[in-house]
């Protein structure tokens, strides 16, 4: 390989069949060998396993995968199951609330942190530490805090506030808000850090110009700064969104889907049908629906980000 050009890819123009073969297969052999794990991951896991799952979601696999095609029957059964429908509804409700509040609080805190305040690094350290913790830890702490008898509610009642009610974790109508409190506790700090990086990336001159023109600060944020932070905002939405679709550990730790099925989520449905109930076909159909959700979010984003110009630089 010593005779290949220093720069890779665009070597000397020796054309012809041998040259083509050399360029395609023999060029850069050590690099290709080194990249084998990556190629295997892409081909076998990200492409292969995904196709396998979609394919077998159309079969009547139960304890073991089977090849009997039954068309959309698994999907019909899926959307006829109240537990699945509750899961989807929960994910949509929780997802919308979580996205709005994480972005909102994250942005608010970033703006406040950007006002040349004192103790900035102390504030940041405190806001971000929950992000270092496991969802299991987060879920269990909040489960204890929200414990109706001995947690916050019990404490307040013992202290004399008899009507204080904070039983969200045991209340089917409020349990998603319990989940939201724990989820925000873990995620807002990270969103703040992202947004702060975006705010710091805005040129100081723009602020000066806006001040000279007498534009109020809030107006500058909305009309100038936020549009300039589009990149960071899109990244934040994609990261938060893909985290929401994956939501699993937090639910397992905080409520385990309860009370009843009122806080079930799709990822938990998949797990329970695949490994608990021994109904693989159902699990695969549910997983395929999760994939579809992600694609619906991702494809427009990918198209907007990379599609227009053909290839990214």
């Amino acid at each position: 390989m010593a005779d290949t050009a220093v720069d890779t890819g665009r070597g000397a123009g020796n054309t012809g069949r041998r040259g083509f073969l050399r360029k395609t297969f023999l060029h850069n052999v050590p690099a290709k060998i080194a990249a084998l794990p990556m190629m295997a991951t892409v081909l076998v896991v990200f492409i292969g396993c995904t196709i396998w799952t979609v394919y077998y979601s159309f079969t009547n696999s139960r304890l073991l995968p089977s090849g009997d095609f039954i068309g959309f029957e698994q999907y019909e059964r899926l959307f006829g199951t109240s537990r699945w429908n509750v899961s989807v509804w929960n994910l949509v409700t929780y997802g919308a609330m979580s996205l709005v509040f994480t972005l909102g609080f994250g942005f608010l805190l970033a703006v406040l942190m950007d006002q040349k305040i004192r103790f900035e690094s102390a504030f940041r350290t405190i806001m971000l530490y929950p992000f270092a913790l496991s969802f299991i830890v987060t879920g269990l702490v909040w489960q204890w805090i929200m414990n109706p008898t001995l947690g916050l509610q019990g404490t307040m009642r013992n202290l004399g506030w008899e009507s204080f009610t904070f039983d969200w974790i045991a209340n089917p109508r409020m349990v998603l808000f319990a989940l939201l409190i724990a989820g925000l506790w873990q995620g807002v700090g990270f969103c703040m850090v992202l947004m702060l990086a975006g705010l710091r990336g805005v040129d100081e001159e723009i602020w000066k110009a806006a001040r000279v023109d007498g534009i109020p600060t809030w107006r500058t944020y909305i009309s100038v700064v936020i549009p300039m932070m589009r990149g960071v905002l899109v990244t934040a939405v994609v990261l938060i969104g893909s985290g929401i679709v994956r939501l699993y550990d937090l639910v397992v730790a905080l409520t385990n889907g309860g009370p009843g099925i009122s806080s079930e989520v799709p990822a938990k449905y998949v797990y329970n049908y695949m490994f608990g109930a021994g109904n693989i076909g159902q699990g695969l159909a549910a997983a395929t629906m999760m994939l579809l959700t992600v694609l619906i979010i991702m494809v427009p984003w990918a198209y907007l980000e990379f599609g227009g110009k053909g290839r990214r630089s």
Partner: protein, 311 residues
């Protein structure tokens, strides 16, 4: 001084200080209404973020009679380490009563090799993608990044079958393999961006001198990339330590990581729940990532923000 005096005319204090006093713009008073609003909001959120940590610690040092008294704010009347000892050595998971210690060691056994293997492979990937591009390498990379958004549940069952075929399902090797696979997109992105930021002349000079793929990697690239290795290390150790799903699916009952053990202790133990033991166990599980977080400081921020840096 005269300039500031004319600009801030009505302020009386600037006129009185005529001696060679402080220069530059007049310091703003600390307690403006605006500042008060800013700091109150920040302090409110700080309380929200700190409250669970406080409750966790306080509860873990109490005795059960004191907890039944029902005041989660109160400090323990006397500090008791019984809950910590029990959480570590003898808390019950519903199956066994060995405490968290086995889970801790399982997590260590999972985290160390997974971290090393995944970082090494990703570093090589990033290096190959930047300096040794080949036909299709960018396509593989794009699919890798896009693939990182596929929910794990989609690939879970086929991976169970693959690891079963390989004869490693339910062993440490399986968890290590899975962590390596799913850590690859973000780490590869991290290393690719870092290597792309290094001056290309170094690589070209080494290439002219006849150094090959691995020699350049080990002797030139690695010594220059210590900072990014530390970032990757932080990212992987906390990420793998905190994992729940892969541990519960792939590790097998003998190798369950600490997070799974913790959840079993709290959520599937029989009998009356011991909240002090639960909270001690929770603190213990969160301790490793917390120590890493507080020690690493800004590097942690870089690590977690790595996903936000687009290539």
């Amino acid at each position: 001084m005269s300039q500031t005096a004319t600009m801030t005319g009505p302020a009386p204090d600037t006129h009185t200080k005529v001696e060679s006093g402080p220069r530059g713009p007049r310091p703003k008073p600390f307690f403006t209404p605006q500042k008060i609003i800013i700091y109150s909001i920040l302090v409110f959120f700080t309380l929200y973020f700190l409250f669970p940590l406080y409750v966790m610690l306080v509860t873990s040092f109490k005795t059960m009679p004191e907890i039944r008294f029902g005041n989660i704010f109160a400090l323990p009347s006397q500090i008791s380490f019984d809950a910590w000892v029990k959480a570590w050595t003898s808390a019950c998971t519903g199956l066994t009563c060995e405490g968290l210690a086995p889970g801790f060691w399982n997590s260590v056994k999972i985290t160390i090799p997974s971290t090393i293997v995944s970082i090494f492979i990703a570093a090589v990937n990033g290096y190959a993608l930047v300096n040794w591009r080949f036909k299709g390498s960018e396509i593989f990379f794009s699919i890798l990044i896009f693939g990182s958004f596929i929910p794990y549940q989609v690939m879970l069952y086929p991976l169970v079958m693959i690891t079963r075929e390989l004869g490693i399902f339910g062993t440490l090797q399986a968890v290590i393999l899975i962590h390596t696979i799913f850590g690859m997109p973000i780490l590869t992105l991290l290393f690719r961006n870092y290597f792309a930021s290094l001056p290309q002349e170094l690589f070209k000079a080494a290439r002219v001198d006849g150094a090959g793929f691995w020699r350049i990697f080990f002797e030139i690239m690695l010594p220059m990339s210590l900072p990014i290795f530390v970032v990757a290390l932080i990212l992987q150790v906390t990420g793998i330590w905190n994992d729940f799903l892969f541990g519960v699916v792939f590790a097998g009952t003998q190798n369950l990581p600490m997070t799974v053990q913790l959840n079993n202790i709290v959520n599937s133990a029989q009998g009356t729940p011991e909240y002090n033991v639960n909270m001690a166990a929770t603190v213990l599980t969160g301790l490793v990532p917390l120590i890493i977080y507080f020690v690493s400081g800004k590097l942690f921020v870089r690590g977690v923000a790595a996903g936000a840096v687009k290539g």
